[in-house]
Symmetry: D2
Subunit: 340 residues, 4 copies
Amino acid sequence: MADNNNNNKQVTIETQRAKSGMWFMEDVAPGLKIQSELRSIIAMTQSEYQDIQVIESYFGKTLVTDGKTQSAELDEYAYHESLVHPALIQSALLMNNGQGPKTVFIGGGGELATARECLRHESVERVVMVDLDGEVVEVSKKYLPEWGGEAVTSDPRFELVIGDAYQWLLDTEERFDVMILDISDPIEAGPGIMLYVQEFYQHAVTRLAPGHGVFVTQAGMADAIPSSMFSKGEQDTSCYGPIRNTLATVFNAVVPYSSNIPSFGSDWGFVMAYNNGGGDEESLSSRVDELLKQQFGGNDPLKFYDQVTHARMFNLTKPLRKSLEEDKRIMTKENPIFMY
Amino acid sequence: MADNNNNNKQVTIETQRAKSGMWFMEDVAPGLKIQSELRSIIAMTQSEYQDIQVIESYFGKTLVTDGKTQSAELDEYAYHESLVHPALIQSALLMNNGQGPKTVFIGGGGELATARECLRHESVERVVMVDLDGEVVEVSKKYLPEWGGEAVTSDPRFELVIGDAYQWLLDTEERFDVMILDISDPIEAGPGIMLYVQEFYQHAVTRLAPGHGVFVTQAGMADAIPSSMFSKGEQDTSCYGPIRNTLATVFNAVVPYSSNIPSFGSDWGFVMAYNNGGGDEESLSSRVDELLKQQFGGNDPLKFYDQVTHARMFNLTKPLRKSLEEDKRIMTKENPIFMY
Amino acid sequence: MADNNNNNKQVTIETQRAKSGMWFMEDVAPGLKIQSELRSIIAMTQSEYQDIQVIESYFGKTLVTDGKTQSAELDEYAYHESLVHPALIQSALLMNNGQGPKTVFIGGGGELATARECLRHESVERVVMVDLDGEVVEVSKKYLPEWGGEAVTSDPRFELVIGDAYQWLLDTEERFDVMILDISDPIEAGPGIMLYVQEFYQHAVTRLAPGHGVFVTQAGMADAIPSSMFSKGEQDTSCYGPIRNTLATVFNAVVPYSSNIPSFGSDWGFVMAYNNGGGDEESLSSRVDELLKQQFGGNDPLKFYDQVTHARMFNLTKPLRKSLEEDKRIMTKENPIFMY
Amino acid sequence: MADNNNNNKQVTIETQRAKSGMWFMEDVAPGLKIQSELRSIIAMTQSEYQDIQVIESYFGKTLVTDGKTQSAELDEYAYHESLVHPALIQSALLMNNGQGPKTVFIGGGGELATARECLRHESVERVVMVDLDGEVVEVSKKYLPEWGGEAVTSDPRFELVIGDAYQWLLDTEERFDVMILDISDPIEAGPGIMLYVQEFYQHAVTRLAPGHGVFVTQAGMADAIPSSMFSKGEQDTSCYGPIRNTLATVFNAVVPYSSNIPSFGSDWGFVMAYNNGGGDEESLSSRVDELLKQQFGGNDPLKFYDQVTHARMFNLTKPLRKSLEEDKRIMTKENPIFMY
């Protein structure tokens, strides 16, 4: 506002950050919060479904819905690359013909960055994204252009549907090479709970291309030391195990993996699932860089994901593997499991 | 932003407040903070002297400099009425001729609300306000019009000087009926420390009208239980006693009083001082309403101050009186005392 | 633990306080918290009715139940003296025979400090205290001896009943000179709500001595600027007005007053009520010191309350008086009002 | 304290946790804090060097020095196994004779858990641990027996020296198979800074066994997205790169790796270094489980580390690798680099 052309502006900005007294506080788990400096509030609004904020915090520009960080400028690419690329190259690997997936369905994904990553793949000809909350898409286009914005929505391969992803899949005859669920955690009050249950997965598999169809979903907190170990016999509110188990009732290959996402305050879980033919399967881990090169026409547009990062993501720690082995819970419409 | 014409908007706004996760945190004393919901950030800037924020918190629109609340929409009038009116009616009482003070000097007062209260008095013909930081005045005019804004700066009786109040008083020959010091607390790094020392008061008294000149200054935290009792032998960082004591080396009537200002997180101290003739003095406490009526032409424009409020303000609790009695510290240029 | 006989121990303790990272956070109102350094945890337990903690915070040793500060070492006397002494000397004034109240009923008061203050009065021959939660009394005796402890419970004039104060008063034929309600705020989940409703007051008055019986109750937050002004049309969660109004349906003299209690984060309200004869009444405010001298045999054992403090307590600010005037709510069993 | 034999004790404990209002707050980076529920304070003391607390937080029993979490009950094994075992089996691999390291030097390690992990190895005959602060060792023995405690200190293979690790290594002629630096981060005020500089590493290498000597040090925060990317051109306070670079001036094999340690609020870095012969080297990653079996006599005593966990630890994310590549800083006595 003021014209401060002094040389030590950098210093004073640092000072102001320390002095401003403004903070963003987020519950990560019962008894655990993250407190991040709040540098500015860019937008606040409400949709039919949720409160939506765009703030600038320690993690840069951040989309927050109902008080929960959805993604942040400085590490959103870690989340979105982790969610998208393993599934697409797994599909390419299953196709095993030097080609890659052509059609992708995204449930949720309102920030547009999941679509952005899909559209990087040269083989992709069609991305259908069905999100319940058009307001999130509008806010993202306006305030988070780095997430994808107009570049995504104006891409002729991209189709946006504002509506219920489950219903859309019930109504369609289409089958997709890859199906990506990028929705809020299954919390009690949330609209997304029905996209984590067995009934949904049973239908979703019928909308995947036989042979090379790959499904992937975000799956909540997945720290090296699983949160169940912190709760000491109290209710385990992690859904990582239940999501994996529920998918395993529908798919014969179910692969949990995780990435460190600093703005989420923990490592974050994903589960990829597909039905392989049961014959000789090629392992993905040793062919990541080769397949990415195939998909990107020899370029390397990614900032987070490559073959070495893949090894980090897909090798889970011993306590997390043990926790997953011991978890037998399955999520159904009648018996959903709610995260914190 | 969105067009939400639903009926339960009120409910959802309340919900958003609870969910947003945004807070303003302020140190009140070493080991004590206030955490207030942060509803919006209206402006952030920096002047040559300090960081300036206008935020909306639990206390409404709030001016913050260097992380310290200066005044807040919902109780600024309690602070400004407490600071201004006792001194002006005390001057009227000393004049004892049915007239009131004509000239007022304000040191500081950048938010313009101190001037606003002075200008309510029909007897006032001239208000000179000298504040170091023109940026605070600009921000206040633009974002805090309720504090006074243009209505004050465009009043022909009002003169604004951006500069050093001490120096201005050294340079002038003028004498004022009332002198009001509305400046930041005497903290180590602050510019205001020199406006709390004996040398300043010794000069200030020479710029007051003989007989009916009244001086008043804000004087920091003044809880019912003085903060010195919380520090348990550690350094007492309250300046209420030292300000009173230092004024008492210059004036023969020195009256400490205090008001509860919720947004400051405590009761707040003020000290009024004047030299009475030593003869029969009329007591102010029983004539407040009468003098206010005289000053306001029979109207009652005030929201906080009246004769009953005056009784609350000027009767200090027993432990606070005891603490003041025991405090013998005096502030000089060589031996300033710094608040927290 | 370690034997650190170094000279700068004082400094290092201060340093540790700053470094320890331990805080006690308390909700004061929706959107407002106080954060006080936590120096130690002295005891944690649970009774049948509530969680009970004794911690050491910025305010010294502090009793906390269900996360709410009940009273703190460094200002508990301000609260307890404010609650007790005005009612007892008002009763003495009504007796108007140079004698004071002989019997006192306390509802709640588990910390024992309310009884401690009553027992200071030489005229008092019997104090019956009925508290629901014996665990609070035990914790207070063991960890908060400064509040009264054994000195109270071993006083032959003191009778302790663990039980329901309302029921005890229904069962007794006894009448008391003074009745003091020192119970938790009327919150939804709290056990105390029935001690704030009209039906209770209608019965309580029948257990007061005719002519000079005086009733007093704590009455929650009562800032200079009432909290209703902060809620901007949202639900007013203050009970100060409703308690006063409800008492006014039963007593013809109802006097709200308030004291600044720093550890409560605000000014705190009380309401005193009695039925005067309707004839010439003497005013209490000018006779406080005289009546205290009568009651204490010429000694001055009090740290907070005297005639000047009384003037502060009983003169409410203009906005608080206005808010009380406008508040017409009454609390009944069928229509209770819940504080935050 | 109270005898509450009610059935819903579990529920009420959960409730108390939510209600207690007690929190432990820790700065993780400038502008980022973690707030963890504080369930109890087990011990507070001060040594000659630092403040020492043992608290119970969300992460279980936690050792805190100068306000910084050192290790926590529920994930200390992740930290200590990550620090110790890769170096010991790397040494065994370099020995290449079916035997493992016999002698280990630990600089720091006062919690005793680093020694605990070393002593699990059947080949280990001698562990010398030199820690500056005997008080930390005493506190750990008394309050953190799960970390190792008496079982470590009474092991005849274990030698404890209270003193300066650097000086001890200057004074000895002994050479060690493995050298582990388990000390505080290089912060400005900390005693450990000299154990991170080039001069120290240049001496340390002379105290390692030729051929199979392996050095390892903890190396501070090492998130998937390096913190330098959050600071946006401001000073990078991470020391992961400088530690790796400085070790690379002394060792020809320098391997940075990291593990997710939830109680540290981020992924945590380590750097392993050794001088290999330059000939055919066997890769550690494919032989972890085999070497652990050799070292533990066929048993599997570890909770965190195995061959799959190793793959996670030693495959760093693309942005972290990029950040390490670009970092050219080296730490010397004259030019140390301070972490936050």
